[in-house]
Symmetry: C2
Subunit: 222 residues, 2 copies
DNA sequence: CTCTTTCTGTAGTGATCGACACATAAATAG
DNA sequence: CTATTTATGTGTCGATCACTACAGAAAGAG
């Protein structure tokens, strides 16, 4: 990527531009905007709200992010990059699909109630209704983000079938939809101040459905 | 409160007032406003949107409903009065708690996907985020409406215990929270165009969790 | 009929919306 | 240094926000 200083010097320091340097940290400002969108949603968050929370003037906001919609799109990306691991790390490191799903739901119960780190309650993606508010492009972004959850669940379940963990007759799509439904529902309960313990109990019950469907129930019932 | 001109005449014709009669049907206009709030949410729905959908001028709207917030509160009531039966009728007429919960989830799968009557997808109460948008009073109304679901579920489960349908050791609260979570999650999936069949499959899986927890599983597994 | 009451349509209220023009400030390039 | 480039702060744009003043219209009361 980086050539010498003699022949064809390009892109020496990508962060060092020419004019007056930005007086704020872009990622920090983005993090604050993300938190605000996360809590209040797109429509209810005004530019004035954002500039105040980000500690910058509106021209700086528009110079750095383009528009309110573009800022929301970046906030979605920032949300994914910084919070995804909270609910997916255990899922991906689990040895079995059952443990993966169980980790996913248990970690969701903890993260969605703000018990792991100081974050708002509920999932920004699950609770977003930006698509119904007349912003089709952003709505499609959120829809796509929600679809990722389903895809990951189905991928892991298919792997479990090929590894013989669960019967080949298992309805992968339905089971993944079920897990997705439970996790989405958790976000709504979390907004209503449901506790981590309550959501963990919900996750336990969801796993009982899993066990019955996948044939793990016989050895778990007394 | 009001005296008569002779003896004790009160409230002759409550609907017939004195001045110029209203040129629109209040309930019809409220139904249209409800539908709009249901789809777009409180913040994203403007008075201009409402007056257009209701077919009236803004002074008529304010004369009849008071304010945008008061109209939303009435829309919540209208929503309950006109859509509650879609998901609760089978619940209340079921002979067992299991059938009641099953009906509740199955009927939700149908209603939330707009398959029973022509209504928007998802539950207006579950998907409302008005409380996070800075309208505390309305948020409390929605919260209370969501709490009704939990109360009804717990009431029915307690009845099932006293009737011997399910073990006394059953964690009523957790089980009710689980059912509530699944139904809430269904609303989010319904907004993303999940089909009635998909949500019914989710309901079936939720009932498997029920069966395992309540001890019905032994006789259902082969 | 007139008087009173209530609703409707027009036309706006001040406030806030998202977004930007402009001049100035602060950096690099030469 | 000067020239160029980029960011910031002030001020404001037209549009839209929720809401209403006002006058005329349509009903009952007398």
């Amino acid at each position: 990527m980086q050539k010498s200083d003699e022949i064809a010097e390009v892109d020496k320091t990508p962060a060092r531009s020419r004019g007056r340097p930005r007086a704020f940290d872009r990622e920090t400002a983005l993090a604050r905007a993300t938190r605000l969108f996360w809590i209040k949603g797109f429509e209810a968050t005004s530019i004035a709200d954002l500039t105040e929370a980000m500690g910058i003037g509106s021209p700086s906001l528009y110079a750095a992010f383009g528009s309110k919609e573009a800022l929301y799109a970046e906030a979605l990306r920032h949300y994914r990059d910084n919070n995804e691991a909270l609910v997916w790390a255990g899922f991906f490191s689990a040895g079995t699909a059952r443990e993966a799903v169980r980790s996913f739901l248990m970690d969701s119960a903890a993260a969605l109630t703000g018990c792991v780190v100081d974050i708002p309650r509920g999932c920004m993606v699950a609770l977003s209704s930006v698509g119904s508010e007349g912003h089709a492009e952003l709505g499609e972004l959120v829809r796509a983000a929600r679809a990722v959850t389903l895809d990951r669940l189905k991928l892991r379940l298919n792997q479990a079938i090929s590894e013989g963990e669960i019967p080949v007759s298992t309805d992968i799509h339905a089971l993944a939809r079920f897990v997705q439904t439970v996790q989405n529902g958790m976000s709504i309960l979390a907004r209503d101040e449901a506790t981590r313990g309550e959501l963990e109990a919900v996750a336990e019950l969801a796993m009982l459905g899993w066990d019955t469907r996948t044939g793990d129930a016989e050895r778990r019932l007394g």
